[in-house]
Symmetry: C2
């Protein structure tokens, strides 16, 4: 039995485009003599559709596309994910389902049992969990169809009461097929392989896994669909960050030669982040129907890295870099930025913001009178830049890329409506120390980002001789505390026990918590870590905990 | 048996303040000879704590506060809500629990069974549902303790598989006590009374209901705690939008005189919205530690209504109104605005934005050259206003109130980083047609908002002779379509079937969907409807459905 793994980039709610892609893949698989083709979870509508699921019309459109797709399935079976109405029993209105199609008909439906409702996931918001298990028989093979999370309670020690594979295993399947919508984070590939191989080894059944690729706003899908043989060896591994379709025979998964090794070694975290961000930018523009990007280039490392990524994603012709010096900008800021745009062969503009900043100060002087300068005047500069960048973005129909990093977003070291503007935040899930690693990665073959940008001490350049360290601790200490607080959810006592200075811990945690109001208005942030700001981290603005 | 209903305004994560309030209420109830005092769901930590629940430290602090509170419970029992660790069984890490305290000890714990995970609620994200039922015996009375949603599957026809009251009823309780965190919407009071009275009538058991009051950022709690007698009559109804503590005897609930009528008639929707918004503003400032507000006063109805509400919430001395005319501002805009600030006795500034706008245009002219004027120049004006308002807010340590209404937020008729700036959106959940009703309500006793502001056609005044209706249909048609799409989740076919013009329906739905990117960066919006923009409505930015 030949199984095709179809790893595609879907567009949420774009039923026409998704249907066309799916039918093309079916025809391609027929040409390759596949007996079955497997698509991802929620392939027909794209993932995550979120509250579109509350519209009956949306489900009906998905159903209609499914019927059209079924008609193409002659001489091939298909397994494909889509939402469906719950007509069977009490509970939520929908199931998250896998449809088994053969002879142009839907022969069977499997519903998802384990519904992730943590981090970015909200599946219990929409779906009723399955509680009845069955095996699909096709061409004398017994197939255990599972949907993503259904395989993740392997050790039966997690947040779920049951492990669906236990029930399915008792029915003696010949193969496990898992259709997934498993978003990228830099640790996800390793984690995913560990879980899938554990399932294979525990049940001694080969496994086919099909994931999405592509970006859905902030959520990135890396693909990495795979086939794992009886012995737990990955015998087929599809591309990362690219559409792919491969055929694998069930026989190969049962009698595979022992010498095949696991395809990948431990994946390179920074390379993966890099590839994910490039895809994230590219897909955001493509799916929103935009070609051109604009960004403010300060001469610092953050905007330099974002520019390099944008050029890779969109092409140098489609990116406009804007330098916006003020009276506090150092001369090297412009020369470093110029060197970068010349290396990347990107169009640029230099716009002196001082006249407008002075205009604001003049306008405000009858009110401010002799009040001393403070953060107001710093923010004014950042906001003047924001207005100019947004004006260029409006006039040219381009999207402004936000260049804030995760460290500064965490502690609120940025100006709302100033440098926090943008349609999408490219490196908002990358700590400052990781931004440097990303710069080194970008420079691995040649010096794209000038060494001077990498070496100089970070500064917002909003007042004379300003340095980030005037306000913040060194980034390697800051980032360690932030990582433990944000990613690991460690509280102050654990942090202090780990050896961090008590005063510093309380200062940083307070900064993180009291700046929730700024993050509420941040652009969507491309998610590359297991805990990014955005939908995956939900905190009240008004609160007193640790602040 | 005398039962005290303690309806308090908690501050999320502020364990010291919450504990103090709770202990004060316990002492007050002791003075009133109460046998039991009942607090709301999650009273100790405040609701909703969201992802703070993922921090062990947060739960430990809550536990510590609970232990301190228990020590005060001599000669009185207490029922109080708090999260607790799930040590008992597999599943999520926490339970959402009601603690029964007597003789200074925790005697019993009841966990919540039905965990709302729709609209603004995310309870299944954190909590394992209860599946074992028990009755608490105290002073020979059998008490069925339920937590909020536990009573809401009364007809057993909803999104849940079970109805906890069925199990509890079989144990023959004498009284039902429901501790709740039931957020306000303009239809919630009616809905809540209907559900609670249905429970009483179905089981023929009296009921005590204790809710929160106060605002938690966008989420508003109206209170309205109550005691319902055997016959389904509300014999005690606590204040709305105010802290309150009342005593009710169980005897009264069993032998109440028949002539008591349900306290309220159908509540006045606009009055409720008004009171909710005033509380929302007031609490946002108090809990964030701010006194002073600022807002841009355009001469239009939206900012006029927000100003009137802000003055009521914060006092006229604490609000600064700023008029920001440009070359396109009509003369009546300033005169109308002046009349309003004089009536309200509010300090104001008039700042002509034209010099700064011209400064931006000069700065941009070498780049824009002869490109025709478009939305860019309109946005420039709105953003110049935004920068000036934020500068004043920074300099004076005040919070900028956002004045966008729900109709314009829905269709994207506003400028990101311009008129969409602000710390909190006051009327972002009020359709334009409701803004007029709110203005009439504010004017019910005397003319606060000048008639001219109410009567003139809405205009953004960003280009000559602009009217909202140049771009949008009449608001009474627009708002009807928006309500059906947003609140009722009706799709295009249902809308067209209801008689709306097909082209118009598609145009409006497309505007709503393609402007999700703007709403992502909107300030938090005080929630008064059953479906507000924000956490309760989660939609992808990149999507093609109906756009």
């Amino acid at each position: 039995m030949n199984i095709a793994l179809a790893q595609l980039n879907y567009h949420i709610g774009n039923f026409e485009v998704n249907k066309k892609k799916i039918i093309q893949a079916i025809n391609h698989a027929k040409d390759l003599k596949a007996d079955i083709i497997v698509f991802a979870e929620m392939a027909i509508c794209g993932y995550p559709p979120r509250d579109f699921l509350e519209f009956d019309d949306f489900i009906e459109q998905s159903n209609a596309a499914l019927q059209n797709i079924a008609k193409e399935c002659d001489n091939i079976a298909a397994i494909i994910g889509a939402p469906r109405f719950n007509y069977e029993r009490k509970g939520k209105k929908l199931f998250n389902s896998a449809f088994f199609i053969a002879d142009k008909k839907i022969h069977n439906i499997i519903d998802k049992t384990l519904l992730p409702t943590y981090d970015i996931f909200d599946e219990y918001r929409y779906f009723e969990p399955n509680n009845k298990f069955k095996i699909i028989e096709y061409q004398k093979q017994k197939i255990a169809i599972t949907i993503c999370e259904d395989l993740w309670n392997i050790n039966d020690d997690g947040i779920y009461q049951i492990n669906p594979m236990e029930a399915l295993f008792s029915m003696q399947p010949d193969i496990i097929i898992n259709i997934a919508a498993s978003p990228f984070s830099y640790s996800q590939e390793e984690e995913r392989k560990k879980i899938l191989i554990s399932n294979v080894k525990k049940y001694h059944i080969p496994l086919i896994y099909v994931n999405h690729i592509g970006a859905q706003t902030e959520m990135l899908f890396d693909g990495g669909s795979m086939a794992i043989d009886l012995n737990g060896l990955i015998v087929e591994e599809l591309a990362y960050f690219k559409e792919d379709l491969q055929i694998c025979s069930l026989e190969k998964l049962i009698y595979s030669p022992k010498e095949i090794k696991i395809a990948n070694n431990k994946p390179d975290k920074i390379k993966k982040i890099h590839d994910a961000l490039v895809m994230g930018i590219k897909n955001y523009f493509e799916k929103q129907g935009f070609q051109k990007a604009i960004l403010g280039l300060s001469g610092g490392i953050d905007s330099a890295v974002v520019l390099a990524l944008a050029v890779e994603a969109l092409g140098n012709k489609n990116v406009l870099a804007v330098m916006l010096p003020s009276q506090y900008s150092s001369s090297h800021s412009i020369t470093d930025a110029k060197q970068l745009v010349e290396t990347l062969n990107v169009k640029y503009e230099i716009i002196n913001i001082q006249p407008v900043v002075d205009g604001f100060l003049n306008t405000l002087s009858p009110i401010f009178k002799d009040l001393p300068s403070d953060v107001t005047e710093e923010n004014l500069q950042a906001r003047t830049r924001g207005v100019i960048l947004m004006a260029l973005s409006n006039k040219y129909g381009s999207i402004l890329l936000n260049t804030s990093n995760k460290s500064e977003i965490a502690v609120g070291y940025g100006t709302l409506y100033g440098d926090m503007c943008g349609g999408i935040s490219v490196i908002g899930d990358i700590y400052k120390t990781e931004v440097y690693q990303l710069a080194q990665y970008i420079n691995k073959d040649e010096e794209i980002i000038p060494q001077n940008i990498i070496l100089k001490p970070p500064s917002a350049e909003l007042k004379p001789n300003q340095k980030d360290t005037d306000t913040l601790p060194d980034y390697d200490i800051l980032d360690k505390i932030l990582y433990k607080y944000i990613e690991l959810r460690q509280g102050p006592n654990e942090l202090i026990k780990a050896g961090f200075d008590k005063t510093l811990v309380h200062k940083i945690l307070k900064m993180v918590n009291t700046n929730e109001y700024k993050r509420y208005q941040t652009p969507p942030i491309l998610r590359v870590s297991p805990k990014a700001f955005g939908m995956g981290r939900r905190l009240p603005i008004v609160a007193k905990y640790l602040s």
